[in-house]
Amino acid sequence: MAHGTTEPKLYGLMAEFETPDQLLEAARRTRDAGYKKFDCYTPFPIHGLTAAMGVKEAKVPWTVFTMGLLGAIGAFSLQVWTSMVDYPLNVAGRDLLSWPYFIPITFEGMVLAAAFGAFFGTHIYNRMLTYYHPVFNVPQFARASTDRFFVCIESKDPKFNRDEAYRFLQSLNPISISEVPE
């Protein structure tokens, strides 16, 4: 730290585990203990982890769905507007509202908007393009991308109390518990 005299703010307490099963158990018990602001870090996706953490329904599918619906409605309306209101054109005597012609564009509009929803939704909800994250201040955390599993209870949690959280994490029998400086 540049200013050695001031103690860095505490981001949270992090416990390290050896197996996915221990992590699942830890996540479940952390949730049951009433902590809301905590996260799990794993080298690979673990089946059932989101359920164990008590994460509610994922937001990305709904974003994609809504965006797709809006894209379809938007593309269809655009065509209706251009061909019926803005520049009505008689094409071989067909109706101005020649909806079969509009379907391919409607479909493409839906795909485009839904893809944007997926791309930006993933980025926004996962807080991607985060250039600094406090968990990397813990040296052990380097192994989160190879063979270790971590639970971090954040100090933002209303229930967070350093000593209590420490005792709680200890009760989960981790390999190590580290303080994560902000």
Binding site: H47, P61, F65, S98, P100, Y101, P104
Partner: protein
């Protein structure tokens, strides 16, 4: 292990099938009796209704054969609980549907109430139909049907016997060998099946309106009847979800659960059917030539338009959102409701496809219903009978209940 438990726990399902069969037979007999009375009073209407019923149940048998070929080729785990149902349905191509075809053949040669092109005086006055005579003539029609039935039945029996050998093999290595061998036959079968299916649909469906033609027709039909066959199989399995045999299958947990794949497949086929149906409409609409538009003109006037509005709603929009939802694929009962919607709209769709060939205004006769129920009752009776002849799910198949991890 799956191999040992299935034989023990099948009893309840078998009892359920045994109870259902007489009902199907009774309905079938009743329907055919009513239809036979129609044959005496109004043979033209009765034969037309019969052709519609034949088209639906033959299409469903072919959908079953298509799925059986597909599943034996790709050997997907998701199809293992359904495959005996498809094989049992495909087996009905011969003799049941071949016998059921005889009245149609009789009509083509003698009474001429189904196909316009069988009327000598109509063809004589029509240069277009004369030009189509090399394909649309009675002898070729009969030979064609003989070939279709022979080849379809050959593949249906081949798959049936092959998987029977596998059930009886006992030795897992031999079973695996037989399964792989069958996969090769089935892959070849898919190619032959699709070629002949196209021709069969030209003969039995398209030629009802002999001036009209569409290269999309067979594709729409195979998508629709494939969906139909899958919906029927899922209806059976999901209805039996609380019986010991199917309970662990239907409620199989985990990301790779069966019902997720089933729901996705229903979704895919609904969307594919919609895609090809819309393509046909879009191309017809763009071309705007009478020989193509007459198909839709007939189906968009005289009351047929109301059915034309219902079909996209229940064949596309409702299933699209229904099967898109992850919840549907998680709750078996909700999946079952979706499957029932599809089963219902399939009948309406075939009615809308076939009946306007003869009738300019929206109409349904008692004989349409009687023939449909009659043939359908017999079809179900025999299909369930075939199902009872074998273990209900593949034996010697370790993948059936293996867990996701």
């Amino acid at each position: 292990m799956a191999t040992t438990t299935t034989a023990l726990s099948e009893q309840e399902v078998r009892a359920r099938i045994q109870r259902g069969r007489p009902l199907a037979l009774g309905l079938g007999a009743l329907g055919l009796a009513v239809w036979a009375s129609g044959l005496a009073t109004n043979p033209k209407l009765a034969l037309q209704g019969y052709h519609m019923a034949f088209f639906y149940w033959m299409g469903l048998s072919l959908g079953c054969l298509g799925f059986a070929l597909l599943l034996h080729t790709v050997r997907g785990r998701w199809g293992l609980p359904l495959i005996r149902i498809f094989e049992s349905g495909a087996l009905l191509i011969a003799p049941l549907m071949a016998v059921a075809f005889l009245p149609i053949l009789y009509d083509v040669f003698v009474t001429h109430s189904i196909f316009e092109w069988t009327h000598k005086e109509v063809v004589a006055a029509d240069p277009v139909l004369q030009a189509k005579r090399p394909w649309l003539n009675e002898t070729r029609f009969a030979i064609g049907a003989l070939v279709y039935f022979a080849v379809f039945a050959f593949f249906a029996y081949r798959l049936w016997n092959g998987s029977k050998q596998e059930d009886e093999a006992g030795d897992p290595i031999k079973a695996e060998f037989l399964s792989r061998q069958r996969s090769g036959h089935a892959a070849f079968g898919i190619v032959v099946f699709m070629l002949l299916f196209t021709l069969a649909m030209v003969d039995w469906g398209q030629s009802l309106m002999p001036h009209w033609f569409s290269t999309m027709y067979a594709v729409i039909m195979i998508a629709g009847f494939g969906l139909n066959a899958l919906a029927l199989a899922l209806y059976m399995v999901l209805s039996w979800r609380d019986l010991p045999l199917y309970k662990p299958i239907v409620y199989h947990e985990g990301y790779e659960g069966y019902r997720r794949d089933w729901g996705n497949f229903m979704f895919t086929l609904c969307v594919f059917w919609s895609y090809v149906s819309l393509s046909q409409l879009l191309i017809t609409y763009s071309g705007n030539l009478y020989e193509f538009t007459q198909f839709y003109l007939r189906r968009n006037t005289g009351g047929w338009e109301y059915i034309a509005y219902i079909i996209p709603v229940f064949h596309f929009f409702v299933p699209f959102f229904w099967f898109l939802a992850p919840r549907t694929k998680w709750i078996p009962k909700q999946l079952l409701v979706g499957v029932m919607i599809v089963l219902a709209i399939r009948v309406v769709e075939i009615f809308w496809q076939i009946k306007p060939m003869w009738s300019e205004t929206l109409s349904i006769s008692l004989y349409d219903v009687a023939a449909f129920v009659g043939l359908g009752g017999i079809w179900l009776y025999m299909m369930l009978g075939n199902l009872l002849k074998r273990p209900l799910v593949p034996k010697n198949e370790p993948r059936l209940l293996e867990t996701a991890h």
